[in-house]
Symmetry: C2
Subunit: 358 residues, 2 copies
């Protein structure tokens, strides 16, 4: 089934993507402006199901890379993203049949829409993670043996790089250095794949899910309902805590936004939730006990509006609701946990949502 992404659909899509981005994936407002401008100039984007993608099609993921704390100040233009895809396609000598999202996120679900609009090619309804993760070897593609490279890295000034590496970890290391030198924010196209590979390396329908989440927030807010509870139910997750942000420690370091936030519960229970992040929220501890850990989805929304709070937009005094939900089941496999489990990030904790994953 192919539907069209029009300008009007971008708002709920970006809002939902920012929730599913788990604190990372870029700013939904800036991302939406970029996608709106591209659709205004080039028309709506065809959103296609993976079942309709031929096995021999040539698929190019595209995403922003770097620290979101920088991404909200050094804005990415569509031009550098289009350039990233075109450079990689030319290097490979392949046509650009489909654009897809490397990850879900307020920015990283929008930039591929803008690229698809400008190039006039369809966008796949899905993404390579079902959420956002901070490092580029973290995707379903490497789990099925798709190489991260050849990949391209571009900046807004016109600098471009192609990397060919012996592993996806080397791709992460070299692309991170290049990204930091470019100003800690870049656009990348990586994991070029066939349609057949795309069918195995995607979380299917995630862009539709983002739209559904965005619309659910709007309708629940209009009905004066409990937005956190509605989202938790839809995502088969739990509401961890509602409270006030009491402290945020944040630094832009080694190319990431790193830190943690302390949230004190409403209602005088004195419960405290501490959320640790490296771009994305990776660990939630309630009074010192881990209640969710990567690859679990850990999400923060404004309690009143349901607006996603990304790591870089966390502020003292915000009234927030913290949610946890299961990631795609493949992230809880031994191979998945090796890539993105708590141990990789140095946390002594276990994910808690695997049982509800599918």
């Amino acid at each position: 089934m192919t539907v069209q992404i029009t300008r009007e659909q971008l708002k709920p899509l970006a809002a939902g993507a920012a929730i599913l981005g788990c604190g990372g994936g870029g700013d939904p407002y800036i991302g939406r402006l970029v996608a709106e401008a591209a659709i205004d100039a080039h028309g709506p984007v065809a959103l296609v199901d993976l079942d309709d993608v031929p096995d021999d099609a040539s698929v190019f993921p595209v995403a922003g890379m770097g620290a979101p704390t920088v991404g909200i100040e050094k804005l990415a233009a569509t031009g550098q993203a289009v350039s990233a895809v075109q450079l990689l396609a030319k290097h490979l000598g392949r046509p650009i049949d489909y654009i897809t999202c490397g990850e879900v996120g307020g920015g990283n679900s929008m930039v591929p829409i803008a690229v698809a609009a400008e190039l006039g090619v369809p966008l796949i309804n899905g993404d390579g993670m079902g959420r956002a993760f901070p490092e580029l070897q973290m995707g379903l593609a490497p789990m099925i043996g798709v190489s991260a490279t050849p990949m391209s890295v571009t900046d807004e000034k016109g600098n471009r790089a192609i990397l060919e590496t012996i592993s996806s970890r080397w791709a992460e290391w070299l692309a991170r250095d290049v990204t930091i030198e470019m100003g800690t924010s870049s656009t990348i196209s990586l994991y070029p794949m066939t349609g057949e590979q795309a069918k195995r390396a995607h979380v299917r329908g995630s862009l539709s899910l983002c739209t559904l989440l965005g619309e659910l927030v709007d309708s629940t807010r209009a009905a004066h309902g409990d937005i956190g509870a509605a989202l938790a139910e839809e995502l088969r997750g739990v509401r961890l805590l509602g409270g006030k942000v009491a402290d945020v420690e944040r630094r832009t370091q080694t190319g990431f936004a790193r830190g943690n936030a302390r949230i004190v519960a409403d209602g005088g229970s004195c419960e405290e939730l501490v959320i640790s992040f490296q771009n994305e929220y990776l660990l939630a501890e309630l009074d010192g006990r881990a209640v969710a850990a990567t690859p679990d989805l850990i999400m923060l929304i404004e309690s009143d509006t349901g607006t996603a709070i990304t790591g870089e937009s966390l502020r003292y005094g915000q009234r927030v609701t913290a949610l946890a939900a299961p990631a795609d089941a493949r992230w809880y496999s031994p191979e998945g946990l090796e890539l993105v489990g708590p141990e990789y990030f140095g946390y002594d904790a276990e994910p808690t949502m695997a049982g509800a994953a599918r």
Copy 2:
């Protein structure tokens, strides 16, 4: 005129190149082993004069990049250098008609010989500087408007990068980051140019000059003559000091070997020469007064043997002779001084050898 570089000619060529490398450009012993192995496997290399290179020929410079302190431990193989040139040629869609030296140096005059041998293409008798300099925007090519990029960067593990940048300074920044991540030593191919450009972007005959210097050292030593005086005369330079290395301060930092060496004069005069280096020797101060400064050639040899002393081989107690000589006259132009003059490196000094340059 085309001559052949045979195995036997590598020894004086490498010895002379290490002298003209001004402390940088890589180790002549390791460089020679690499070139010997390639000539043993593939036969001698044709060394051609620039006058014999067609204007529309496709010329590829190749060089090592990084800190020589690392280069003597993490050895570059011919394979990664060949890979650098082939990757760039493929990216440009151009044939590899000629190989040339990005700079003169114990390693950087040898690696291109090995590449030319393995690829079976001729080598140009010349180089892009007439000496070695530490950063890749420092060459005659950018002065005539040849772009540093597209360029390639490769390592011994099999990682490869292509960079396309908006300036040669950006090429330096990005390639330096990639090189540091690769282990602070890489091989690069850059400033791809036509034969017509090569004629304007080269110091002509510099490989022949290296051989001549190496032979001069041998013959002067055999005759128990003054090697330093002989070299100074040949290079239209001066003997700054003969003495003993009293102190070496050296650190591998931001991808370079940086530091300075203190040399105390023989004969009880108590004169002290301090030489500062960033890979290459860039400033020589005699009792606090600058007696030579970049782009002047500042060279150190073992007083007895005439063997070049590179920055990474400087040791306490070595008996050395320090020499200064004029660089190619183009380095003393306003454009040349902007690229490589003392001010760029933060030295409050003037070059002293410009008068003898040609």
